[in-house]
């Protein structure tokens, strides 16, 4: 089993995300994380899916996704072939703000992005291992809430969806 990042370029079509996720559901494969957003190109969406599967499964999955009519192109990469980040938010009660917490914030280079009467919200961006490490450290500080995004990724190998659309590849 390997961790893969699948990049799916699609038309902006209602239901497309559903069509893609049922491919995983049907095969009993868990999606580790998923993000969807507009791509650099007008009207083209980019879905980033993180999944832990075998080499054979990733090939089948990407072919099945590419078979979806409104999917333009699918690429998949191993972790070392993508630059990726995840953002995490941590909600901590104001009483927990003491010098030891300040030290942690400084160490991790995390940011306080909101301060309310009763709590502060920390923001920290990195790989899952990093955001997880901070989570473990913050738990004893009476952490109130935690939220982590799916992976956003940019592939290292060169490819161009524009060239693909213009039949240049």
């Amino acid at each position: 089993m390997n961790r893969y990042t699948i990049l799916v370029y699609t038309e902006n079509f209602i239901g497309i995300l559903n069509r893609i996720t049922i491919i995983f559901t049907r095969r009993g494969i868990n999606i580790d994380a998923l993000t969807a957003s507009e791509s650099r190109l007008d009207g083209i969406h980019k879905i980033t899916i993180e999944v832990t599967v075998t080499d054979e499964q990733i090939i089948q999955l990407s072919k099945q996704i590419e078979k979806v009519v409104d999917v333009i192109k699918v690429y998949y990469f191993m972790d070392d072939e993508v630059v990726y980040q995840e953002i995490a938010l941590y909600k901590i009660p104001i009483e927990s703000l003491d010098p030891s917490l300040e030290k942690v914030i400084r160490q991790f280079n995390a940011h306080i992005i909101a301060a309310e009467k009763e709590f502060v919200v920390l923001e920290f961006t990195g790989h899952k291992e990093d955001t997880q490490a901070l989570l473990e450290i913050l738990k004893p500080f009476n952490l109130l809430e935690f939220s982590r995004s799916g992976r956003v990724a940019i592939a290292k190998p060169k490819f161009s969806i524009t060239d693909y659309l213009n039949n240049k590849t």
């Binding site: 049922i22 089948q60 072919k63 099945q64 078979k67 009519v69 333009i72 659309l165």
Partner: protein, 560 residues
């Protein structure tokens, strides 16, 4: 300006749709109202159930090669289509289904007969779309037809809200000529052709397996020329039957769980396996771990996701086999494989002795299903179409029917849908009243869609319905006998008087129980001008052999 409902009908006419198979209801009533004005341009067939409508459209599509069109209302009308969608999806049948939907402002409010048809039909369609505005109707239908028939065909569903059907808009039909995200045809890679030809030319025991892909690509002639030159033995999958005439010297039989003995067994003795337009279904391969491991596999296939899905291939030839086959034919040497063919012939003798003599040549005891098919072969036209349901009768009919022409085989292969045959035969017959359409059904399956006798009555479609009555859910009973210690748990049926039912629907009906009556009855049926129902009471506990039991390898195909 015209109503959305008129746009629906005019779009279908613009796509040259000949038939609509459908059933009305509240949310589709505007379209039905519009249909009233176009009955000279498009024929609507009112079935007795939406499942009947979609199976009829499938039967029509399979024999004609055209897109089958289905019309149904929202809610229960739409959900009744699901079985047919799943069936058409797995058997790659081009359909456009149009369903009515509650008005757009009611979506999500649990309105009367509102159901999430898009969500429900998603896994069973190649593509689906909900249309909520009148101006989107024609483009959606144009796209639907394009997607249904382009590349690997499949079912498409267009759900149209009622407001869009009654709003007024411009009718300006533009057929869809391409979709940028959908590029099903690739140029054939010459390196792959060369590599495939090399393997084939070096092979001592090459073996061709062909499937429905050949028929869907209209590549029957190309297959024949390839076999004429290469002299390679060729076996058919269930849905591939008819792609090559069984009289062709290369034809060696049928593959799969109840296919022929030699073609299954020798799969594990060939050195190069050339799969053409087939997807290595588990009913063909048996245990994959012991399937053709000795062979190098060449796979000619349009759908990239089929390559290496079940069987790893040495040389994938991706693309339309109508294009790749001629290239391959040019690149292979002329050959004959006499000794290799001889192996098939020898094993054929074993099957004949162990199975066929019992199935076809018994002179006493109850009638066997095979005898009926044998007689049908005697009287049928070369291009007669055989439609079958699912069960023992399906496998026996397929085994013994003499396929000579393409698009003469209509059956539910991938899904195995009982109840498929009667409506599918009706659809097949409507395509051409002059073609013989013979519908073979079991006593279980016929009762799943028996109401379609009504549609046969109303359309006067001259379908010949042959009921092979063993008073059992025979195929399940066979498994109970072989694998569950003969514990016949809920498989015996108390059946009605089928002849009376058929007669109530004004079909000419005959029942045969004795061997000596059979021949005349079959002849009478074939010669009869209108619809005909023939019930043949057969041996209750016959089994279908050869058989590759679940989990077994193709070489473990058993004769008894």
């Amino acid at each position: 300006m015209v109503r959305g409902a008129d746009i629906v009908v005019r779009s279908l006419i613009a796509e040259n749709a000949e038939f609509i198979f459908g059933y009305p209801g509240g949310a589709i009533m505007p379209v039905y109202d519009a249909l009233y004005d176009y009955s000279d341009q498009i024929k609507h067939v009112l079935t007795r159930h939406e499942q009947g409508a979609i199976h009829a459209a499938q039967g029509y599509a399979r024999v004609s090669g055209n897109v089958g069109v289905v019309l149904a209302t929202s809610g229960p009308g739409a959900t009744n289509l699901i079985t047919g969608l799943a069936d058409a999806q797995i058997d790659s049948t081009p359909l456009v289904c149009i369903t009515g939907q509650v008005a757009a402002h009611l979506l999500g409010s649990d309105a009367f007969q509102e159901t999430d048809v898009i969500g429900l039909s998603m896994p069973g369609t190649k593509w689906n779309i909900q249309v909520r505005r009148v101006e989107d109707i024609a483009p959606a239908i144009a796209k639907a037809f394009f997607i249904a028939k382009t590349g690997r065909p499949g079912p498409v569903l267009v759900d149209i809200t009622k407001n869009a059907q009654v709003e007024f808009g411009e009718f300006l039909y533009q057929p869809c000529l391409g979709i940028r995200s959908f590029r099903p045809y690739v140029t054939i890679n010459p390196t792959a052709i060369a590599a495939a030809a090399q393997l084939i030319n070096d092979a001592k025991r090459p073996y061709v397996l062909y499937g429905q892909g050949v028929i869907l690509a209209n590549a029957e002639e190309e297959l024949k020329r390839f076999l004429d030159k290469s002299g390679i033995p060729a076996a058919s999958t269930l849905l591939g039957s008819g792609a090559l005439s069984q009289d062709h010297p290369s034809y060696v039989g049928k593959l799969g769980m109840h296919g022929n003995y030699a073609p299954n067994l020798l799969t594990n003795q060939c050195d190069v396996l050339i799969a053409i337009g087939m997807r290595f279904d588990d009913r063909v391969t048996g245990d994959l771990k012991r399937y053709a491991k000795q062979a190098q596999v060449v796979h000619l296939e349009l759908d990239p996701s089929e390559i290496d899905k079940n069987v790893k291939c040495a040389v994938p030839v991706l693309g339309d086999c109508k294009t790749s086959l001629p290239l391959l034919t040019d690149a292979v040497n002329s050959n004959t494989h006499h000794e290799w063919f001889q192996k098939f012939r020898e094993l054929d003798k074993e099957e004949k002795a162990a199975v066929m003599s019992y199935d076809l040549e018994s002179t006493h005891g109850g009638l066997h299903m095979g005898e009926v098919i044998q007689l049908i072969n005697q009287f049928k036209d070369e291009n007669a179409i055989l439609v079958t349901d699912v069960g023992q009768h399906q496998m026996i009919s397929w085994r013994y029917f003499h396929y000579k022409e393409s698009r003469t085989q209509v059956t539910s292969g991938g899904l195995g849908t009982m109840g498929f045959a009667l409506p599918a035969a009706l659809g097949a017959q409507l395509h051409d009243f002059k073609r013989q359409v013979i519908c073979v059904v079991g006593d279980g399956g016929i009762q799943m869609t028996i109401q379609e006798f009504g549609t046969i009555m109303q359309t006067k479609a001259p379908v010949k319905v042959v009921l092979l009555n063993n008073n059992y859910l025979g195929m399940v009973r066979q498994w109970q006998q072989l694998f569950f210690d003969k514990r016949y748990s809920f498989t015996e049926l108390e059946n009605p008087d089928f002849v009376k039912i058929a007669e109530a629907y004004k079909l000419k009906a005959v029942k045969v129980t004795e061997r000596h009556e059979l021949k005349e009855a079959v002849a009478q049926m074939i010669l009869h001008e209108g619809p005909f129902f023939l019930e043949v009471v057969v041996e209750k506990e016959d089994n279908v052999f050869p058989m590759i039991a679940t989990g077994c390898s193709v070489e473990e195909v058993r004769l008894s």
